[in-house]
């Protein structure tokens, strides 16, 4: 997460940060539903222009673990399937409530003491004030999030390197009339 603001807006900026980090509220089903639909339409409309990005990120994702983090095809497919489920049901509320619960749970694990670092790039004369504001923000998160001080070592499960690379040979058929071709390999050890 990053935020940029003018010095005179520091209080408002930290209010925003507190709202997101200390008291994240996902419990707005109609807004969640709108966001899912909008994003699904956006992704569906852009399949034609994003073909190369999908092919490239997929090809690289089996070679380096760090490239796997940027793979976009699987996550977009999952998202569109999720949106389709949401659109076809006459009772979307349980799905959205479930999503809100999961997101709240994920946020409580993400915004923990051992998981957060802050970096400030700005006027050094204001640094003491920013430091104070950050301490206040951390106190607020500590008060709101019961998992704030919890250590969760088992969550660190993503390897920094693959033991063995996976080389994909895939052809994804699309309604396009042209092709986006990629060939990826390990460029450096």
């Amino acid at each position: 997460m990053s935020i940029g603001f003018l010095e005179r807006n520091m209080d408002k900026a930290f209010d925003c940060l507190a709202e997101v980090l200390a008291t994240p509220n996902f419990d707005e089903p109609s807004q969640l539903s709108d966001l899912v639909k909008m994003e699904a339409i956006n992704k569906a409309n852009n399949i034609g222009t994003l073909g190369l990005q999908y092919a490239r990120s997929y090809a690289e994702s089996g070679i380096r673990a760090s490239a796997r983090s940027f793979e976009s095809l699987r996550s977009d497919v999952f998202f569109c399937q999720y949106a389709a489920e949401l659109l076809k049901t006459t009772r979307p509320l349980p799905i959205l409530t479930d999503a809100a619960l999961h997101m709240t749970e994920i946020a409580s694990y993400l915004f923990r003491e051992e998981n957060m670092e802050f970096a400030v790039h700005g006027n050094s004369r204001k640094f003491e004030l920013v430091k104070l504001k950050l301490e206040m923000l951390l106190n607020q998160i500590k008060n709101e999030n019961s998992r704030y001080s919890k250590k969760v070592p088992h969550l660190i499960g993503v390897p920094s390197e693959f033991d063995k690379a996976t080389y994909y040979k895939n052809f994804f058929k699309t309604p396009l009339t042209v092709n986006n071709c990629t060939e990826s390999m390990l460029g450096a050890p």
Binding site: R56, V178, T182, E183
Partner: protein, 144 residues
């Protein structure tokens, strides 16, 4: 490689809208083409472009031009917030950037040939590459 071989072969002769190759931040090297009516010929062109480097089929002038293109990216002015974010999230310092600049500046034709020989052509010869096509349903292809 992009301007001296891939674009003439894949765009001008093959009819694709664009083609190129690049080294990713994650350490991967990728050839690509987009809006391409061909598939098999494109993959053959990727392989031939490496042979092109191995045969030292490029001039000092072309190497200088390639360096200029690289420096367009390396010397791009970063806004302070992005500079801070890169330093913080990826550990890039000004010293790292300077080291990379100097290494890119010192690059010779022999270095390029050595890299192509050591990593690229061996990967292709041993089948250690990923081939992914996001393409047309009507595309005539046998195997990737």
């Amino acid at each position: 490689m992009t301007f001296t071989y891939l674009l003439p072969a894949i765009r001008e002769k093959g009819g694709a809208y664009g083609a190129g190759c690049s080294a990713g931040e994650s350490g991967t090297f990728t050839f690509y083409s987009f809006r391409d009516p061909k598939i098999q010929l494109t993959f053959e062109s990727f392989e031939r472009s490496i042979s092109h480097v191995l045969d030292k089929d490029f001039s000092e002038q072309q190497l200088r031009e390639a360096k200029m293109l690289t420096f367009q990216k390396l010397d791009k002015v970063l806004e302070p917030s992005l500079k801070g974010l890169l330093a913080f999230s990826r550990g890039y310092s000004d010293e790292h950037r300077m080291k990379l600049r100097l290494r890119a500046l010192d690059l010779t034709r022999e270095d390029l040939v050595a890299v192509a020989e050591k990593y690229l052509i061996k990967a292709i010869e041993n089948g250690r590459t990923s081939r992914v096509v996001f393409g047309s349903q009507q595309a005539p292809f046998n195997e990737l």
